[in-house]
Chain length 396, copies 2
């Protein structure tokens, strides 16, 4: 195989601290690649009026593989105010570059593994009735449809007359007939059969490959009869090709309630965009939270891997950096899986598991103490130190 | 005050088992009322083609106070098949009677307290870094907007031409321009400023009355700029009248992740309809789940109180009934609060707290064993027995 080129997009804030650590780990497992830096995020917005510049799009189109750190986003007013004066008033508007990237390259399959590493004090536990506790082993992979649903971007406040008239052709709109335009906001949730099919197929394929016993479609068809109804219907059709895998169907509300009851019983979960966003974060909270939540945004051509945490501006200025780079490192391991280098990916995950299990080197989040410079004095490892510990295990 | 009349709507399945227990408790605290039964649910659908018959609507309109048990709902096909033969083909369609009731009577404020009772083995616990565990005291009240948002019911599969054209006037719809009509489903999320204001005001008012230090608006304005944006903006405006209460703002995804990190830090949470549905179930999962999740659907005129669990057809046939009636009893206590009988409501909650704390009488869910007739042989209390225990404490 030709030496791959990875487009690195550290982005904002702590993205710049965690991404280089992931590259150290990739190098340590002997992954040979070229890395090319690409600009993305807040500075691009402020200086160029575009958080995802064309040159970055070109690089991704060319090399097809990206590692992304994190981005800052701000409410509309603040975003407008930080735009370079000469760019103001040109109708530019800030839009999340990661969401844009997903849609532009049709990275429609978002994969989010939620796996508990034994020994992690952040792991979910539950009470036993005799006064003790038990720690279920969670191993869930969420397949989130990544391009449509409530992320379609089709929304209005004070919808134009033709939109309002069209909505009013639905009898249920009668309840809103007297709402003044400027007091009415609508966002359209859009589901297509094609993309429902693609995400369900990806979920079942993964379940089969990794021998999960069930796939759960997590929607709300009792209320969203058309859109969730379509998702559920498609899941039922796709399941027919996988007789060995059970299809479970849950409602997103009930699923979040059962989350803390029997999380170990779920395998693969598939959901539309926003529901996948929610349920993957919910499960991530059971296995370590932000410091452990990795993800892949995968299309037919291009794939981008990213921790799901943000840019954490509060921590970005600290030197040494104290944030937990494991989510970023796990995202890099997912990239290896994606290009058929699973043996190397497994070595990375094994090294992380070892470090977590030993428990000698822990970032502040794993110690449940406040982040900040003081955490180091309390015994927390910094970003480089925990990576060093992972490297030691990778190399042995 | 005149003796109130309460419209009792046990509905389907276990609704018929738990509602009478709540009335026993109401009587035990000396609440003097008349009870009038009203039909609702699956049988009404099958025999009359309407799960919420007019006579029930009239009773609620007249008496203004309802206790609701649970309902069964089934997918469209099954619902159609169970309709009385002579009613078929008349264009009738099943719609959730509780959702209909909320919209018909404008029960726009849905209140869902999530309070942990000490000693409940179902309570959420988390690890400490020294190998033990701690049990945070959760005391959250979710204020869910109850009539609009994604529950507006404005949805289509294969939208008619005028709707499609209107959607296509948004530039973001370009991504769907080539999707064949029958492969396209849309659900419209509708937010009005008026109802956003009403739910935010209800949340702050409650926070002030019960001295919560913060109100959290839980939306997704970074993606749903118009609809969640409007909710958040309104929350900010309303907060200005409550300088002593902090407004926190979280995204629904992040909120479900933090759920298992610091649930004790949240007070009142306010959200649009579906997000409130999700986040209230998520918090309910931390304080006992289905058996403890009570709610009130409150309008200016009418109010209906209900446990959020379903009709549990599997358990409905068991004699004696084994399900946990506490959610229903707590809902009845909320009804007392609503009509200014908080002293009686507090006595009920105190009695439940005592029974849970003693831990001698527990339904199967609190023992984390499978429900079913065998659970009684394993020492689980049945529905009447746990109510008896509550009555003992109410009376002492
Ligand atoms: C940053 C935000 C737009 C994004 C999303 O909502 O998809 C994030 O929450 C994620 O999960 O990747
Ligand atoms: C039964 C269902 C329609 C209902 C809802 O979604 O509101 C339920 O989940 C609830 O929370 O009361």
């Amino acid at each position: 195989m030709a030496r791959p080129t990875v487009v690195t997009m550290p982005g904002d804030g702590i993205g710049n601290q965690v991404l280089p650590q992931a590259i150290r780990v990739l190098e340590a497992v002997g992954f040979e690649a070229n890395y090319v830096h690409a600009d993305i995020g807040w500075e691009c917005w402020c200086n160029e009026g575009n958080a995802l510049p064309d040159r970055t799009i070109q690089l991704l189109r060319k090399h097809k593989l990206g590692l992304f750190g994190a981005i800052t986003s701000k409410p509309k007013k603040a975003a407008d105010a930080e735009l370079k004066p000469e760019l103001r008033g040109k109708g530019l508007s800030y839009f999340s570059p990661i969401v844009t990237m997903r849609q532009l390259f049709n990275l429609d399959v978002c994969m989010r593994p939620c796996l508990s590493f034994p020994g992690n004090p952040l792991n979910f536990i539950r009470q036993t009735t005799c006064g003790g506790f038990e720690e279920p082993q969670v191993d869930v992979v969420v397949f989130r449809q990544n391009t449509e649903g409530l992320y379609a971007g089709v929304e209005w406040t004070n919808p134009p007359e033709n939109v309002r008239t069209a909505l009013a052709s639905h009898k249920k709109f009668a309840a809103f007939a007297n709402t003044p335009g400027e007091e009415l906001a609508v966002s359209v949730r859009i589901i297509t059969k094609k993309n429902a099919q693609r995400i369900c197929e990806a979920a079942f394929k993964h379940a089969k490959k990794y021998r999960y016993k069930n796939v759960t479609i997590c929607e709300k068809p009792n209320v969203l009869r058309e859109t969730s109804g379509m998702m559920e219907e498609v899941a039922k059709q796709v399941q027919k090709q996988y007789p060995e895998i059970a299809l479970w169907s849950t409602n997103i509300d009930a699923q979040t309630m059962w989350l803390t009851k029997n999380p170990e019983e779920y395998g693969v979960i598939v959901a539309s965009n926003l529901f996948g966003d929610v349920i993957s974060d919910a499960f991530a909270g059971l296995v370590g939270g932000l410091g452990f939540a990795a993800s892949g945004n995968i299309g037919d051509e291009v794939a981008v891997f990213e921790p799901t945490h943000g840019s954490a501006p509060k921590y970005a200025e600290l030197n040494p950096s104290i944030v937990n780079p494991i989510a970023m490192i796990l995202s890099a391991a997912m990239m290896l899986d994606h290009i058929g280098e699973s043996e190397k990916a497994d070595r990375i995950r094994k090294a992380i598991a070892d470090v977590v299990k030993e428990g000698k080197v822990r970032t502040y989040d794993m110690m449940r103490i406040a982040g900040g410079p003081k955490s180091l004095a309390q015994g927390a490892a910094n970003t480089v130190q925990i990576t060093d510990a992972i490297l030691v295990h990778v190399e042995t």
